[in-house]
Symmetry: C2
Subunit: 177 residues, 2 copies
């Protein structure tokens, strides 16, 4: 064990907060990241390699632009460009933190349905562990919003750890994150 | 993070193999233990404190004694004594391994329904993480045998990691473990 050479590869699914206008990490993915650092990585920063995956939902991101008028292909181009910048800004938060702690990491963006894309990326990248945050919604709320974490626990091809958001961090509407 | 003082407390649910007559650890709980050591604890043996919980199912253990005749209270006493010895033998396997690797650990036995007892022990002991092995049964087999791991993922009051048994380790009857 002391001689284990390859670092443990942990994929962390990260997403934007639904609360603020600017691309901050969601409360639950930040909680999952912090938990992983303090409880698993600990001082053993050389033993882990973190893989940050951000899945952008094309339609959902479009909602921010409800007031805009798209009159030309260039408008869509600039929207896509803006999405990309938002995604990069989000990943920057995590990559910067890793850099400060000298933890090796990679980060990338994919488009699509988060739960499907996370599971297909697990298949492709084959991490040792997948970490996902969860809003910890009750059964009634879950029916309406669905939960990415439950899907991943069932379908991802690697061990999955779900970190529930702490009750005192939950916003007024628990569906927000 | 480098200064995190308290070790990460990981509860590991362990059980006997259903295959062999003597109390060996089940394939799935041994797989979960090995995975945790190689992927999470790694060389950071001082950073983790392992808590081994073995839940004995009183009725199930009794099946070994189908041919016996219980004629007196003393017969039940000796059966209980034998159960206890089997349980201790199982825990000894894990405690010995930890001792060799200089990982701090504790181990204890409880009686009852494993899924209920594991969750109530999580409430009482408040570990940072619960690790459970899983036979990785298909949906059809699950209906009949139930799965402890699914219940714990839903109901335990701490993050849970389920380690699926590898396909090449599965016995002829996948319900065996």
């Amino acid at each position: 064990m002391a001689g284990s050479s390859e670092p443990t590869r942990v994929m962390v699914a990260v997403n934007e907060s639904s609360i603020k206008g600017y691309p901050h990490p969601s409360i639950s993915c930040r909680a999952a990241f912090d938990w992983m650092l303090s409880k698993l990585v600990r001082s053993n920063t050389g033993g882990f390699h973190l893989l940050f995956l951000h899945v952008q939902v094309p339609d959902e991101d479009g909602f921010d632009d409800m007031d805009s008028i798209y009159a030309s292909p260039a408008d869509f181009q600039s929207m896509k460009q803006r999405d990309k910048i938002r995604g990069l800004h989000l990943l920057e938060y995590f990559v910067n933190q890793c850099h400060q702690m000298e933890i090796k990491c990679e980060a990338w963006i994919k488009q699509g349905d988060p739960k499907e894309v996370i599971c297909s990326e697990v298949k492709r990248v084959q991490p040792d562990l997948l970490v996902v945050g969860s809003r910890g919604l009750g059964p009634f709320q879950r029916v309406f919003v669905g939960t990415v974490s439950e899907f991943c626990v069932k379908h991802a091809d690697c061990p999955v750890i779900t970190i529930k958001r702490k009750a005192d961090e939950a916003p007024q509407d628990p569906v927000d994150d």
